[in-house]
């Protein structure tokens, strides 16, 4: 369908452009704004795939997550230099690591897509029956059934992961508090 193709290319342009913005803006709040734009464009990708529930959750969770980035900027970053992310020199070694990881990820994705592995995996994981469920019971219901019937153990393990995150948050707050 032509409309979907146009939507895809427009969204792809927005997503890549905003992702570059996240990296190249010098003002941390502008980085944050690009990140929101990027995450919203991903939500629209999910919409074009008719995954309404995932799109909504994407907005709900990441809107909050990016808010935390804002709080990070105002509580942690040096104020005098107008929120510029300074100290690029010290972080130069990360460029190599970042580019290396990016290349590995891109190669892996291209390999999976062009050899048909991705499509095979999707088929093996029962995408066809999932599509049937979505059509009969609705988006959220299908998602919930998959999560709580088929994958309830990973779901609970995710809960444990969140506990660890809580401990991290409290530890971070305490250590910074002790310094002051």
């Amino acid at each position: 369908m032509l409309f979907q193709q146009i939507a895809f290319y427009v969204l792809a342009a927005v997503a890549i452009g905003s992702a570059l913005g996240v990296i190249f803006f010098r003002n941390a709040v502008y980085c944050m704004l690009s990140l929101i734009l990027n995450l919203l464009s991903l939500a629209f990708f999910f919409l074009t795939l008719e995954a309404l529930f995932v799109a909504t959750i994407q907005v709900l969770i990441y809107a909050g997550a990016v808010m935390v980035l804002f709080l990070f900027v105002v509580t942690m970053l040096a104020p005098s230099s107008n929120d510029d992310v300074t100290g690029r020199d010290r972080l130069r070694w990360q460029w190599g690591a970042g580019i290396g990881m990016g290349v590995i990820l891109a190669v892996a994705l291209c390999y999976a897509a062009f050899t048909g592995r991705l499509a095979a995996d999707v088929k093996a994981s029962g995408a066809a029956s999932l599509a049937k469920q979505v059509a009969s019971a609705g988006n959220t219901q299908a998602f919930g059934l998959a999560l709580f019937h088929g994958y309830s153990f990973p779901f609970e393990v995710t809960g444990v992961l969140l506990v660890i995150a809580v401990l991290g948050a409290v530890a971070l707050g305490r250590r910074s508090g002790a310094k002051e």
Partner: protein
């Protein structure tokens, strides 16, 4: 036609409206800026220091706790609408998940993360 298209149309119109009003603010109204008028509001005195200084890290901790519990709430909602179907099994899953998250809530509470001076 997907069911969400009308919502996208409302989104588009709301966007046009917001942009139109913001553009109108450049056209309407007098333009007589003075130095004092454009200075940041400071109860009439000169500004002593720029506002962008560091704030207590407590705000950040609150934000991080929020993400964690927001993920919990977002996971509970699909479980909630299936509760009638899943019956006791759904209840057990919810209980386990809730227990896993009540423990850190109590922990954070005891550590005083919710107490602001």
């Amino acid at each position: 036609m997907p069911e969400y298209v009308p919502a996208l149309i409302l989104m588009g119109l709301a966007f046009l409206f917001a942009v139109a009003v913001m553009l109108a603010t450049f056209v309407l109204g007098p333009k007589r800026p003075t130095h004092e008028k454009l200075a940041p509001y400071e109860c009439g005195i000169e500004e002593v220091e720029a506002p962008r200084q560091r704030f207590p890290v407590k705000y950040l901790v609150t934000g991080m706790l929020f993400i964690i519990f927001d993920v919990e709430a977002a996971s509970v909602i699909p479980l909630a609408i299936l509760m009638r179907q899943l019956k006791v099994m759904g209840l057990v899953e919810l209980l386990i998940f809730a227990f896993i998250l009540i423990v850190p809530l109590v922990y954070v509470w005891r550590k005083g993360a919710f107490t602001w001076e």
